[in-house]
Point group: C2
Chain length 352, copies 2
DNA sequence: TTGAAAGCGTTACCAA
DNA sequence: TTGGTAACGCTTTCAA
C-alpha cells in the first residue's frame, strides 16, 4: 500500500479509501489508484485491517466430525452463505471430544473470529466455555445439537418431531409392536426418544421392557451397534414388527441383523432411519428415512449469525427449527391391505 | 496483555515473553504472570502477533465440494495434522467453479495464510494464480488433481495405477469385453483412462469403438450419467461383459441400468468403481471399488506443507503418490470356474 | 532479567 | 478532496 501511494504521489490514506470504496475521493485519483492496484494485483492485508477495525471477517465453525456427510453439508452451506457476506470459515473438528472442542473454540477466539457456529458435544456443565465466548463479545449459533439449560441461538431440527413422525408413520402402516433403537445421551437422541414415547402413548400402545435398545455411538461403530441391538430385539419373546432407528447407520446395522436371520424387511420387521444419507436408496432394501435438511440448517445458522455480527446489540436468542421430511422407501413401504388384495382379485377376474 | 502487565507491575514485554516460553525470565515473575493469565483466561491476539511475526498460523484449504465425502475426509485429515503443529484451517469451497476457486485463493492469501492446500479444478491456462501464490511466498500443495505442466508439490493417488489395477482385475476374473465409463477432462479421469487403455493393449485386447463412454460430471449428476452411459454400452452389438467405472456414483448408475434391463451383476456384466464410498458395500449388489485413501492424502499433504512452511527455502517440488487398494465385492466377484464346479460335484459324490 | 522504543499494515479521526 | 497522526495488540531489538 505504501508502495502504491509513493509511486502515485498520494498518501496511504487515499489508497486505503479508494480500496474501500470510500465516497470522498476525486474520480481521477480513484482511477489512477485503481489501475495501479490492479496491475500489481495488490490486496490489503486483512489481518492488519482486522486489528484496527475489530473485524476479522472470519467465522469459526466447530463440528464433531468433518468427514461426516451431515456436518460436511452444514459446513458447505455455511461457507456458501457467509462468503456472500465477505466472510470466510475458520474450521475445526472436535473429533467428538470435549477437550478438543473447548480447545478449538479457544483457538478460534484467539484468531479473532467475528462469530462462531458450533455443533457441540458439550453439556450444560461446560457452560463456562460459552460464558467465555460471550465475554469476547462474539455471537455464536449452536447447530444440530442444543445444550439444555443454555440460552443460546440454536438452529436445528425438532428432534421430538422426528421421533413423532417416524413412529406415527410406522403405526399408520399397521405396526403395533414398534421398538426404538436410540442413540447416546445427546439432546438429539433424547428428543427422538421422547417423540417415540409420546406417540406410542398417544396411540395407547405399550412399550414393553427392552423395546428401547441403545447404541453408544452414533458414528462409525453405529452399524455394529445397530446390528447387536437388533439381535437383542429379535431375541425377545414379543418380537417387534417395526423399529425406528436413531439414524441410518443404526438402521443399516439393524437391516443386516434381520436379513442375516432370514427374515424379511418390511414384511417381518419394518425399518426407518434418520438422516436420509446418500446411497440409502440403493441398499438391498431401500431404506426409509427422515431427511434433516443439513443444507438449510447451515444456511439459516449462517444467516442468523451474520445478522448478529452486524447488529452489535444482543437481542434474545433465536431458536430456529427447520422442517424435516419423511422419505418412505421399501423398508417401511405401506403394506397391501386385504381390501386391496381383493380389489386386485376382482380386477383379475374382470380382465380374465 | 497491557492489563495483566499493569496489574503485576511488569512490562508487556515481560508478559509476552512468559507467554511464549521465552527463556530469560525470573521464575518468580513467570509464576505470577502465568497465574494471572490463567485466572483471566487471557489469550494473545493471534492476528496482532501475525502482523509482527509474519506467521498467521492458518493454512488455507480449497476444495471443490466440501459436502463430498472424499474432500471432507481430506479436510479432516489436514485439520487433524496441522492442529498438532499449532495451525488452523481456513477453508473455502470452489463449488467446482474456476472463478470461485481463483477468488477463494486470493481471499485466503489476503487473510495471510501461511500455506495452501488445493484440490484444484484449474488447468494449465490458469497458472497465473499459482504465480501469484509464489509471489506471496506462500508454499502450496496440490491434492487429488494435478495440473499438467505445473511444477508444484502434489499429493494424490496414481490414477493410471487405478486404471491399471481395475482393468487388470476384470481381465483376471475372465472378462475380455471390458469397457470403460470415463469422467470429465481432468488429470484424474485422463489417468484412469490411460491405465485402462494400456492394460487392455498389454493383454492384446481390442477396445471397440464406443467402449469408452463418457460422463460429463463426476458429482451429483454422475449417477444419471452412469445410467445413460451404461444404456448406450448395453445397446451395442458387442455388449461388454465388464465395465470399469470412473467412480462409485457412475458405477451405481451403471448398476441400475443393468438391473433395470433384467440382467445380472456380475454374471452378465461385472462392475467396478473408484472411491470405495461409504455404503457401497451395502448396495443391492455390493460394489467392488478402489479405495483412494483420502485420509492419507490429507495427512501427507499437510505434513509436506508444514515442512515447506517451516523451511523457508524452496526445494524442488515433491510428488507423493499414496497407495490405493482394490476392494473386491460381489459386483466383480471371481466367478466359479468349471473345474471348481467339478470339484464341488466330486465332493458331493464323495460325501453322498 | 527486565523494559523502552520501534514497527508490523491497516484504518479512524480530524485538520487542512 | 486529501493527508498527518495515532492507534490496533503484539513482537523484536537493544540498552539498562
Amino acid at each position: 500500500m505504501k508502495d502504491v501511494a509513493k509511486e502515485l504521489n498520494v498518501s496511504v490514506v487515499t489508497v486505503s479509501k479508494v480500496l474501500r470504496g470510500h465516497s470522498d475521493i476525486g474520480p481521477e485519483t480513484r482511477e489512477r489508484v485503481l489501475r495501479r492496484v490492479q496491475e500489481l494485483g495488490y490486496r490489503p492485508n486483512l489481518a492488519a485491517r482486522g486489528l484496527v477495525t475489530g473485524r476479522s471477517h472470519m467465522v469459526g465453525v466447530v463440528v464433531p466430525e468433518l468427514k461426516h456427510a451431515f456436518f460436511g453439508e452444514i459446513a458447505a452451506a455455511v461457507g456458501s452463505r457467509i462468503r456472500r457476506g465477505g466472510y470466510r470459515m475458520l474450521i475445526a473438528s472436535s473429533e467428538e471430544g470435549r477437550d478438543l472442542e473447548i480447545e478449538s473454540i479457544e483457538a478460534l477466539l484467539a484468531h479473532q473470529v467475528d462469530g462462531l457456529i458450533i455443533a457441540s458435544t458439550l453439556t450444560e456443565a461446560d457452560r463456562g466455555v460459552f460464558r467465555r465466548i460471550e465475554k469476547h463479545n462474539v455471537p455464536y449459533v449452536l447447530v444440530d445439537r442444543d445444550i439444555p439449560g443454555l440460552k443460546a441461538n440454536f438452529v436445528g431440527v425438532d428432534d421430538e418431531a422426528i421421533g413423532t413422525i417416524a413412529t406415527e408413520h410406522l403405526i399408520q402402516r399397521g405396526n403395533r409392536r414398534v421398538a426404538h433403537i436410540r442413540g447416546p445421551e445427546t439432546s438429539t437422541s433424547i428428543g427422538r426418544l421422547r417423540g417415540y414415547m409420546n406417540t406410542m402413548a398417544r396411540h395407547g400402545l405399550t412399550v414393553p421392557g427392552g423395546y428401547v435398545a441403545k447404541v453408544e455411538h452414533s458414528d462409525v461403530e453405529a452399524v455394529a451397534g445397530g446390528f447387536q441391538a437388533m439381535q437383542r430385539l429379535l431375541a425377545m419373546d414379543l418380537r417387534p414388527d417395526a423399529v425406528f432407528c436413531h439414524n441410518d447407520l443404526v438402521a443399516i446395522g439393524a437391516l443386516r441383523a434381520i436379513l442375516s436371520l432370514g427374515m424379511r424387511v418390511p414384511a417381518d420387521v419394518a425399518l426407518i432411519g434418520v438422516a436420509n444419507s446418500r446411497y440409502v436408496d440403493l441398499l438391498t432394501v431401500p431404506l426409509s428415512s427422515i431427511d434433516q435438511n443439513a443444507t438449510q440448517i447451515g444456511d439459516r445458522a449462517a444467516k442468523l449469525l451474520l445478522r448478529r455480527i452486524e447488529m452489535g446489540s444482543k437481542p434474545r436468542p433465536a431458536r430456529i427449527l427447520v422442517p424435516v421430511k419423511l422419505i418412505v422407501r421399501d423398508s417401511s413401504a405401506i403394506p397391501i391391505t386385504e381390501e386391496q388384495l381383493h380389489e386386485v382379485g376382482e380386477l383379475r377376474e374382470a380382465t380374465a
